[in-house]
């Protein structure tokens, strides 16, 4: 193995950076590579929905009730073929799914990032300060994590009320504890190491030690938790919206699309619920597979 590497021309050997090593290990698994590219494709669909969709499903001028509940593959009155059928209001399902993906991904990713920032700050504070601050924060985290996420989310939605901002707040409050616990765990291990001691001996300010020395070394587990939590947040938002306590009707995420198709299910018009669900499943599954692979690659204990 090593003999072959040495025989390569020097110019072809790119310097090995952590990112490059991570990428090559990650893509060694074909399943993970497929999941990663399918996720990129989904993000692409969501970002460019207005240009990719044959119809703006929420523009009343381009939707007619004439097309209501058209079966998949039939030609709508606007002239294009509705490959995934139409819903009860005559909206093209493919277009509705593209727009729904935008909202589902947007809410999931945005709440994930804010929760990541909040949870990280709190977790770092707990680990670096220690003492009663640490004890108090970890008690709150333990208390919250002893209840399932769906229950905490329902409590919050019941208290806060309906609306996109309220759902975001609920998702952030549900997720921050996972990040705080993860960050605190790895920060506690890292802060006993020599490089932190060295930084402290240099009398660097606390903020510099925390953000420039401690935080970068806690990143690996955070990336894993962040990926899996984002999938979880998307699923949770869809569930809340399906139950009718999540996003309002003006923000039709995938969960709402599925809920809209529910009433047509019993009369055999499966496509109104089936295809948005498939899109949701593909999104969650590809993120989960990427997260699983990242966990294997980033876990130092499994290093071969």
């Amino acid at each position: 193995m090593s003999a072959r590497v040495e025989s390569l021309p020097v110019a072809q050997q790119k310097p090995e950076t952590p990112l490059r090593r991570l990428a090559s290990e990650f893509f060694a698994s074909r399943v993970a590579a497929a999941a990663f590219f399918s996720f990129c494709f989904i993000v692409f669909l969501a970002l460019f929905a207005p240009w990719l969709a044959p119809q703006n499903p929420y523009d009343l001028a381009s939707v007619t009730v004439m097309d209501a509940r058209l079966a998949p593959g039939e030609r709508g009155s606007a002239g294009f073929v509705m490959w995934l059928g139409a819903d009860g209001a005559g909206r093209d399902m493919w277009s509705a799914i593209l727009y729904g993906l935008r909202i589902s991904l947007g809410v999931g990713v945005a709440s994930g990032i804010i929760a990541l920032a909040v949870g990280t700050a709190i977790g770092l504070a707990a680990a670096y300060r220690g003492g009663w601050i640490d004890a108090l924060i970890m008690r709150i985290v333990d208390l919250q994590l002893s209840f399932p996420a769906i229950l905490v989310a329902l409590i919050l939605v019941a208290i806060l009320g309906r609306g996109a901002d309220k759902v975001m707040i609920a998702l952030i409050l549900v997720q921050w504890a996972y990040y705080a616990r993860t960050v605190r765990g790895s920060a506690l291990v890292e802060r006993r190491k020599e490089y932190i001691e060295a930084a402290q001996c240099l009398a660097l300010p606390g903020s510099r030690i925390v953000f420039r020395h401690l935080l970068p070394n806690c990143l690996a587990p955070m990336i894993v938790v962040g990926t899996l939590q984002t999938a979880h947040a998307i699923s949770l938002e869809a569930t809340l919206s399906f139950l009718g306590v999540g996003l309002p009707l003006t923000e039709p995420s995938l969960g709402l699309l599925i809920a809209n198709g529910f009433e047509y299910m019993l009369s055999g018009k499966y496509w109104i619920s089936f295809y948005p669900g498939l899109a949701l499943l593909a999104t969650i599954m590809s993120i989960n597979l990427v997260g699983d692979r990242l966990r294997d690659v980033l876990n130092p204990r499994l290093e071969r």
Partner: protein
């Protein structure tokens, strides 16, 4: 004994903290007066109403009042049904518990054999399929699977009823239970499969299993007695903690299958802003959770003395 008292005290504190959170949340964030009055009430009527509910008193007094009433089992009347909120919840509890326990059993009966098979033959195609299936089980949104189950088994094949609940213990009751229980069990099935697989792989390398094999015991006896017994403890402990999760997640399944349980009542109440019922549901569920966690913890400590000792030191 000290350990038991400590844990019970901790649980009481958790209940008090949660009641405070729920109370402050429900009564401070949303103005209850605003929801309770209708627009054509006069100012005097509103004031009398506020005084009657004690909403003019300071917050801590209101909270103590709420606690005292809650201790007597009075959590207020439902605005919609005009009945005690607690009664409404308790009436629907058997349906939810029936569903949760059926799902619990299903998860164990299906998950453990699948997981043990995958653990004993990790490289076989069957095991790979099982593990891929378990990832699918984690990723599938529960409510969508419920819809798909209705579509296939109720609409297309017409084998099973899609909504409602039958008489408990009858054939009809079982037929109604089948789809919701399967739906609710799916996620836990994936979890049990993974736990059982990990446990089996670990146990298969242990000396007592090697010894049992060396003694010349039949492979089935080694697997069914020596391996199974030793993976049951961790699997059952985790599942015990997950029982609460089943009750919480039954909110989703009950809504899909119109199962008349507590969860469906909660969703209906949130949509109608029926706050006393919401508070009653939360109080009952938190209590259930704390009791489940307490029982599992105590059982675990009884089974594993190391846990007890560690707690004593802390």
């Amino acid at each position: 004994m000290v350990f038991v008292i400590r844990r019970v005290l901790q649980s009481v504190i958790v209940v008090l903290v949660m009641s405070l959170v729920v109370f402050v949340g429900v009564h401070l964030v949303g103005d209850p007066v605003h929801i309770l009055i209708n627009d054509d009430m006069t100012k005097e009527e509103v004031e009398r109403f506020v005084r009657k509910l004690g909403l003019d008193r300071p917050m801590h007094e209101q909270y103590l009042h709420f606690l005292a009433n809650a201790a007597r089992g009075d959590l207020g009347n439902s605005f919609v049904h005009n009945e005690p909120a607690l009664k409404l919840i308790v009436e629907r509890m058997p349906a939810t518990l029936e569903l949760a326990f059926a799902a619990f059993l299903l998860a164990i009966v299906v998950g453990i054999p699948l997981g043990m098979y995958a653990g004993l033959k990790p490289e076989s195609p069957g095991s790979r399929a099982i593990m891929a299936g378990s990832i699918l089980g984690f990723s599938l949104p529960t409510f969508w699977v419920g819809l798909m189950l209705i579509m296939v088994f109720a609409v297309m094949l017409g084998w099973l009823p899609s909504t409602g609940r039958g008489e408990f213990g009858t054939w009809d009751g079982l037929r109604h239970l089948a789809l919701p229980a399967l739906n609710l069990a799916l996620f836990k099935m994936a979890l049990v499969t993974r736990l059982a697989r990990a446990g089996t792989r670990e146990a298969a390398l242990q000396d007592y299993v090697k010894f049992a094999r060396a003694k010349g015991l039949s492979p089935s006896r080694v697997v069914l007695v020596h391996v199974l017994k030793n993976i049951l403890v961790p699997v059952v402990t985790v599942l015990g903690l997950e029982l609460g999760g089943l009750i919480a997640f039954s909110v989703v399944t009950e809504t899909v299958f119109a199962w008349p349980g507590m969860g469906k009542l909660l969703i209906d109440s949130i949509q109608r802003l029926d706050r006393p019922v919401i508070v009653a549901y939360l109080v009952i569920t938190v209590l259930m959770f704390v009791v489940i966690n307490l029982v599992v913890d105590l059982l675990y400590a009884a089974l594993d003395p190391r846990v007890r000792l560690r707690e004593m030191k802390a």
